[in-house]
Amino acid sequence: MVKQEKEFVNRPDNTAFTQQRLPAWQPMLSAGIIIPGFVLIGLAFIGIGVALFVTSQSIQVLEVDYTGVEQSSPCFKCSDPDVKNCVCKMEFNIDSLFKGPVFFYYGLSNYFQNYRGYGVSKDPNQLSGDLDSFKVPSDSCAPYEYVGKTPIVPCGSVANSMFNDSFKLYQIVSGAKIQVTLDGKGIAWWTDYNVKYRNPSVTPLKNAFNGTVKPTFWSKPAYELDPTDPANNGFINQDFLVWMRRAALPNFRKLYRRITEGDYAKGLPAGNYSLEIAYNYPVLSFDGRKKNEFLGIAYLVIGSMCVVMSIVMLIVYAKFKFPEEE
């Protein structure tokens, strides 16, 4: 019998796996089975949609266009690129209280921060405080790499093109201008500020920048971006960080300040306001925009569709059901 045993060496294993008999769940996609699922999904989506829509409705948005294309605009005079250090004022009115916290954004349209050549043009090592990269910036920064033979810090196109308009907001109460305190802290990602971007550990910071020049487009060197707060200078300047996080789409806005402190922490009361703009950034084209209600509407639509669909299914099911499902 030993021989007998030996003879079946080639016999395949008789296991559920090798014989392809593993227990399996076989979902059947037919009308009858999916109706309840559809109804449930539809209702859930409608619920989410309503919630989102309501939330988006409660968001108040006010936009002020200061591009200055139209001659009537106060900023028209500044839109000429030859005019330097131009300041213009935009007046606007708030009908009802803007509940706090109020976020102050600046927006650019048709601005392709996502342009590939643009995105490449920076040196991450330099921005993380590597002093070697101060002396020899990455080639990816070209042509914003050197001025003559002096390296540019921060190098590259992204840094060079940093948005440099600045804003001051005043409430006009019976002719008097009361400045609204704008809070520039924490507008950038926490990780950008604390981990990703680092200043070289040289004190004072200015010394680290010896032998380098500021980007050609900049009016101040990196270490003097915020004269009021030494912790907001160099590469960890909040505005710089916000700018360096390149926008995904050509029409975008970026957080400029938040109104969280002082008298206006609860929101901007109704009234007249004046926005003082130090107009430096050369932007030309502009489009109007609306607040984003898309997601809420989408959920509503799809939710209703699911419900409609389940009704269709019901009809289909009634007409074409499988006999064995009876």
Binding site: E7, N10, Q26, P27, M28, S30, G119, V195, A247, F320
Partner: protein, 1301 residues
């Protein structure tokens, strides 16, 4: 090693090259040169015996492997893209990153190659170091060396059961007859022993060979790969030339059997040996699906170009429309911008790099993996495993599994494929008298009944001796039947135990003699030798063949049977022999193992039976005064000498027909005892051994369709030529009827025999005619001279040999004919019916006569009773044309007549080889194919191997259908190679068919499961997997494409490139592969139960033009949704590039995986693990990557992005709605299609969910509903065959059709 000038080295190399290229080689013994420099060695130019099958060396592995891999177009494309990425103006990513995919794929392939090569290296080393014996002049004896030390010109000794190390010209063997038996299983899989003989008249001091005295020159031809052909001659010092052929060559890789030792002269060594030259790599076939796939890849290339062109033009237009130079446009170092045109041009290439994934390179790797998995499951299917031969399904071609699901035409061989090729002697006709062998028929019926029994009974109890067969027909008593299961099983087991001996099942080896014939013989035995045709008939059966005799017990062992036979016989042996001779076939394997006590009782009874057998011989012999020799041989003393050996004899025949005839002769007492090259020993019923001197053997060839043996009769000293062959090959060679010589009766034996032959054929038996011719000595002498000349010829040897054979085979005298049954294999009719229901046309191509073929056709339900059978057989082309036209017209009319839709009998075509040749001529080809297309089944008879492949080719090319050829013999090799899929049946006739095939199965019935289940599964799995793969790549890549519209067509990717690579390499690669290996749309039971389901795969199958484009369109839709829903949601926000890309990537992952979930038909644990694992892997890897990668991989900054996104509820809301919207249409489409008009497969899946009992009920109902009119299930019993003048009551309890099924 002495220093040699480079010039000498070059000169030496050149002359070596010349020596190897020469048509004839002169080889001399190395011995006189032993110990000399290599430069002085005469055979130094020929390669040594060390082999190296490795492709690479350690040092050169990397460059050589890369070179190999770059032969693939896909890899070149990939590398081209990577290189393109190094060009700064067009690069899309960091150049190094672009190298990752190609490096991963190249290194994976290189690893696989290295492993395979290492395995080859190991096996080479093992082979090269195998010990062998080489003669050394210094030691004056054979010394143990290694295989690698063997050189051309050496003398090598091979002992029994050793493998021959190189191609040896046999010079000496231990066998007194100067023969050596070898087994060529390693080369061609044939397990029967073959005889090789020493180069004749080259006596080098027999009995011990002295290699040193060998001073002849061996002249042989350049090595070739033909295993059955070799030509050389040995030129002795006296200029005498002795020819030698393949019959004197021991091939490397063969095993020496039954010969103590043999010595040979090495003619070819190492890579020049025939076995090494035959070592071709695996064949590469491209499946139909893959061919279609390639066209779709081209569509993808076009799509890619269009998309890139859109991007390039878009970039140009975008640049043009910019009013001034915005700050985000980065100029060159020189501070200048490229012109929009040039930028657009560069952008084209950048986009090619960015969107390269659209061309699914990884698809090819995935397909290979999927096929490996599919093959794993096919080969592991226990239902395709054959216990009897312990062989599972073999897949030789690794890349055409899915073709199994698309077969439309099957071309089948008959013998050995539909039938078992276990030949059973059934009937014979001698001198115009028919002997029906009824008793044997009964035995077979009984055997059949028990063979079908499933239970295993090991009945160790010896059987009562009365169970033995006796001549009384009444002996079919219940007692005997009662004991049969045990004995049957036992003999089967023993048969298994010595499976090596070919054709040794009791079914074939045992024949119960016909009583009437037995009396005839015994009557004739003393009647004198010259005149009795009955004795001649059986002598011819015993002699006229190439059967090699070996000892059943000694076989494959180091025992020389000659010495064995001279030993004294033990009583046990004698006993068993007696039992055997009494015809008690059931005892052969068991009786001589009995305890002595039992043996004694056995012997007594056996003797009685012996008497029962012999009486007529004795009485008649005693009364015969003329039969001097016979009577003197009848003395009891003669019996003891040999009696023992005969039952241990085992016959090894090249064809089972031959074995069947030898066993038949043995049953009548004419036992073939031994065969050497020049003698055959036969024991007569009287116990006398006759040794015939074999003068020549005219081997069988397919042109002559016959074989002959020329012997000198030991008693009459006449030269007698026995010829056996196909009736049509013999009948025209007949001279004056033999009978006239000795009897006055003028009955026409030839016509009577022909009548019997026709009846045999109708019964489905294979027929052979046996003839005799006495050649006078003068004629033989003159013929012999010609023959020798032909044998020694170097040119046209085969033609000359055949000519001489034809010269001798004339004026034959007909002795009789035999009918051998080739039994249908198990479940063949079932399989054929199922295949036909599956929409497959089955053609049978056979070398048999039309009558035999038609009969088998009915038996295996290829033809049905109510079929309209068109018989095409004509002699000239004109009639052939007109017949073809008429039939075609008729068939068309039949088919077009609306009244005949249900009622017409199906049309079947039977065509013979000659007509087929005419019909396949180029002008009639179209008409023939058109006719054949309309026929339900086609039977081609008497076709040659070449015609078989021709038919396959014509049908395949004219009808553009998928063809499958199945066969078992060497004659099917052409056909197997011509078809899209070749299937070999590892049966009785060697392994050539299996070697040439793509898949090897052990029974025809396995074809059903192979095609209906595995074919269907493999096809649907792979087709769906490929479609899914295209979809997946398009859906993902299009995300990047849509983004181009929002980034100025600048080639920006919003997804980190590492994550993009990982997405394809890891996150979404395993699920489709698993889908391709494991998905199961319909259960195997359902597919087997409803063969119609197979039709879904035929033609284009699941993978059609429309399915491809629908999935591409779906991919476009889904990518639009996946892009624009997040786009609209994040519009005008402060979202940054990669924060925007992360939800897109995530949504894509979910959409792609859930899309697959919709497609997956059956979810097993493996599915769940892999699907959930992929999702988990995505999140784990991405989270880890986002946590670690602070400044890496610019320009992307993935740091903490996914983390921050996952903290934002918006992310989840967007993911959910986008995935739902993306998948809704496909889901709805599936649901609605399944509900409104479910496909047959869908219905089958519904039935699958039922409990087995009600499912079977449903299958039954479904079948009657769908194909009730077409599939005739009613006549499950095979139609009764026309019986040959035998009244039905002869078969007492057996069904009449039993001899067919």
């Amino acid at each position: 090693m002495t220093w040699r000038s480079p010039l000498a080295v070059v000169r030496d190399a050149l002359s070596g090259q010349r020596a190897r290229e020469k048509d004839l080689r002169n080889l001399v013994s190395n011995l006189p040169y032993e110990g000399l420099d290599r430069a002085k060695q005469p055979n130094r130019y020929f390669p040594g015996n060390a082999i190296k099958t490795t492709k690479y060396t350690v040092l050169l592995f990397i460059p050589m492997n890369l070179f190999e891999q770059f032969h693939r177009l896909a890899n070149i494309y990939f590398v081209g893209l990577a290189i393109l990425n190094f060009v700064p103006v067009v690069n899309a990513f960091q150049p190094e990153v672009a190298l990752i995919p190609i490096c991963v794929i190249l290194s994976l392939t290189a690893l696989k190659d290295a492993w395979e090569d290492f395995r080859r290296y190991q096996s080479d080393r093992k082979l090269n170091n195998t010990p062998c014996f080489i003669y050394s002049r210094r030691e004056k004896q054979f010394m143990e060396r290694r295989w690698k030390d063997v050189r051309v010109g050496d003398f090598v000794k091979v002992v029994c059961n050793e493998i021959v190390p190189a191609d040896l010209l046999l010079l000496h063997t231990s066998d007194p007859a100067s023969v050596c038996h070898i087994e060529t299983a390693n080369l061609d899989g044939e397990t029967n022993l073959k005889q090789r003989r020493v180069v004749p008249s080259l006596c080098i001091s027999d009995p011990e060979l002295e290699p040193e005295s060998f001073n002849s020159i061996v002249v042989c031809e350049k090595p070739d790969d033909n295993l059955n052909h070799f030509k050389c001659y040995v030129e002795k010092p006296d200029k005498e030339k002795v020819g030698a052929g393949i019959e004197s060559l021991l091939l490397r890789g063969c095993t020496v059997r039954n010969t103590d030792h043999a010595v040979g002269f090495v003619v070819y060594a190492g890579h020049e040996t025939k076995s090494m030259l035959n070592n071709h790599g695996p064949r590469y076939k491209r499946s139909k699906l893959e061919r279609r796939l390639n066209t779709d890849v081209i569509f993808c290339v076009i799509l890619l170009f269009v998309m890139c062109l859109v991007g390039a033009v878009g970039h140009f237009v975008w640049l043009q429309s910019l009013p001034s130079v915005p700050p985000y446009l980065v100029p060159h170092s020189a501070g200048l911008l490229d012109s929009p045109g040039l930028s657009g041009f560069y952008m084209f290439f950048t986009l090619i790099i960015l969107l390269q994934v659209l061309i699914p390179i990884s698809l090819y790797v995935s397909i290979e993996l999927v096929k490996i998995g599919q093959i794993f499951f096919i080969t592991n299917d226990i239902d395709l495993y054959d216990e009897e031969t312990d062989s599972s399904m073999q897949c030789k071609a690794l890349n055409i599994t899915e073709d199994l699901g698309q077969i439309e035409y099957i071309f089948s061989d008959k013998t050995g494929t539909l039938t078992e090729n276990k030949m059973v002697f059934r009937r014979c006709s001698i001198m115009g008298t028919e002997y029906p062998h009824k008793e044997n028929a009964i035995r077979l019926t009984v055997l059949d009944e028990h063979e079908s029994e499933e239970e295993v009974i090991f009945n160790q109890r010896p059987l009562p001796p009365r169970a033995g067969w006796t001549l009384d027909p009444e002996d079919t008593n219940p007692e005997r039947k009662q004991h049969q299961p045990g004995s049957q099983r036992k003999s089967k087991v023993s048969g298994n135990a010595q499976r090596d001996a070919a054709f040794s099942s009791p079914l074939e080896t045992e024949v119960i003699p016909d009583r009437k014939l037995l009396q005839q013989i015994s009557g004739a035995e003393c009647g004198g030798w010259q005149i009795d045709p009955y004795l001649d008939f059986f002598l011819a059966l015993a002699i006229c063949n190439t059967v090699v005799v070996s000892m059943a017990t000694a076989q494959r062992q180091r025992v020389n049977w000659l010495s064995h036979s001279s030993q004294r016989n033990t009583p046990l042996d004698t006993l068993s022999n007696l039992v055997k001779r009494a015809g008690s076939f059931r005892h052969i394997f068991t009786s001589w193992q009995h305890t002595p006590k039992q043996s004694r009782t056995l012997s007594e009874d056996s003797v009685i039976e012996e008497d029962h057998f012999n009486p007529p011989v004795k009485t008649e012999g005693a009364g015969d005064t003329n039969g001097l020799q016979t009577c003197s041989l009848q003395t009891p003393s003669q019996c003891d000498k040999p009696a023992a050996t005969s039952n241990k004899l085992s016959y090894e025949a090249e064809s089972p027909d031959e074995a069947a005839l030898v066993y038949a002769a043995k049953a009548y007492g004419f036992t073939l005892l031994a065969r050497t090259h020049d003698s055959v020993t036969v024991r007569l019923p009287s116990g006398q051994d006759l040794e015939f001197e074999v003068l020549d053997t005219l081997a069988f060839d397919s042109n002559r369709k016959r074989m002959s043996i020329l012997v000198r009769h030991p008693i009459t000293r006449e030269c007698v030529l026995y010829t056996k062959g196909a009736d049509y090959a013999i009948m025209e060679l007949l001279g004056t009827p033999y009978a006239e010589h000795f009897s006055g009766s003028q009955k026409n034996i030839a016509s009577d025999t022909q009548h019997h032959l026709d009846c045999y054929a109708k019964e489905g038996l294979r027929t052979l005619c046996i003839t005799k011719k006495v050649v006078c000595d003068e004629a033989y002498e003159s013929w012999s001279v010609n023959r020798q000349r032909a044998l020694a010829a170097m040119e046209n040897r085969e033609e000359l040999i055949m000519e001489t054979a034809v010269q001798l085979e004339t004026n034959l005298s007909l002795l009789g004919a035999t009918g051998v049954e080739d039994r249908l294999q198990e479940s063949v009719p079932d399989t054929i019916v199922a295949l036909r229901e599956a929409g497959i046309q089955v053609w049978v191509l056979t070398g048999d006569k039309p009558e035999t073929a038609v009969n088998i056709g009915y038996a295996c339900r290829l033809l049905e009773e109510e079929d309209l059978v068109i018989n095409m057989s004509c002699n000239n082309k004109r009639t052939c044309t007109s017949i073809l036209d008429c039939t075609l017209e008729e068939v068309r009319r039949y088919n077009e007549d609306p009244r005949n839709v249900d009622t017409t009998p199906d049309i079947s075509l039977v065509i013979d080889g000659r007509t087929l040749t005419m019909a396949l001529a180029s002008d009639l080809q179209d008409r023939f194919v058109d006719l054949a297309k309309r026929c339900r089944s086609v039977l081609c008879c008497r076709v040659t191997p070449l015609q078989k492949s021709w038919v396959v080719k014509v049908v395949r090319e004219k009808l553009k259908v998928m063809t499958l050829a199945v066969g078992d013999g060497a004659n099917d090799v052409n056909m197997i190679q011509a078809a899209d899929i070749g299937i070999g049946i590892s049966g009785q006739e060697g392994m050539q068919a299996v070697m040439a095939s793509d898949f090897a199965i052990s029974h025809f019935k396995h074809l059903k499961r192979l095609l209906l289940v595995h074919g269907h599964w493999c096809h649907t799995r792979l087709a769906n997997m490929i479609i899914y793969f295209f979809y997946k790549n398009v859906a993902y890549v299009n995300l990047l494409f849509w983004y181009q519209f929002f980034c100025g067509f600048s080639g920006t990717a919003m997804i980190d490139y590492w994550l993009m690579i990982f997405f394809n390499l890891f996150f979404t690669s395993v699920p489709p592969i698993m889908f391709g290996i494991m998905d199961k749309d319909v259960s195997a039971e359902m597919l087997m139960g409803v063969p119609e389901l197979y039709r879904t795969g035929q033609g284009a199958g699941e993978y059609t033009f429309s399915t491809f484009w629908v999935s591409i369109l779906d991919a476009f839709y889904q990518s639009l949704v996946c892009f624009f829903v997040p786009y609209l949601a994040y519009q005008d926000s402060d979202i940054d590039v990669f924060t925007f890309g992360t939800p897109l990537n995530t949504i894509s992952l979910f959409t792609i995986l859930l899309h697959l979930s919709i497609e997956i038909k059956a979810w097993t644990l493996v599915h769940w693990v892999i699907m959930l694992g992929s999702v988990a892997l995505y999140f784990i890897v991405t989270l880890a990557y986002s946590a670690i990668c602070v400044t890496c991989n610019p320009p992307s900054n993935p740091y903490w992005i996914l983390q921050s996104q996952m903290a934002d509820p918006m992310f989840y809301l967007i993911c959910i709605i986008t995935t739902v919207v993306a998948l809704l249409p496909r889901y709805m489409f599936h649901v609605l299609r399944n509900s409104i008009s479910p496909s047959p497969l869908m219905q089958a899946r519904h039935l699958d969910r039922l409990v087995p009992s009600s499912r079977d009920q449903w299958i039954k109902e479904w079948r009657t509903f769908r194909g009730g009119g077409h599939v005739k299930r009613s006549g499950l019993s095979t139609p009764t065959s026309p019986t040959l003048d035998t009244p039905v009551d002869i078969y007492p309890q057996s069904p009449t059709a039993s001899d067919i099924t």
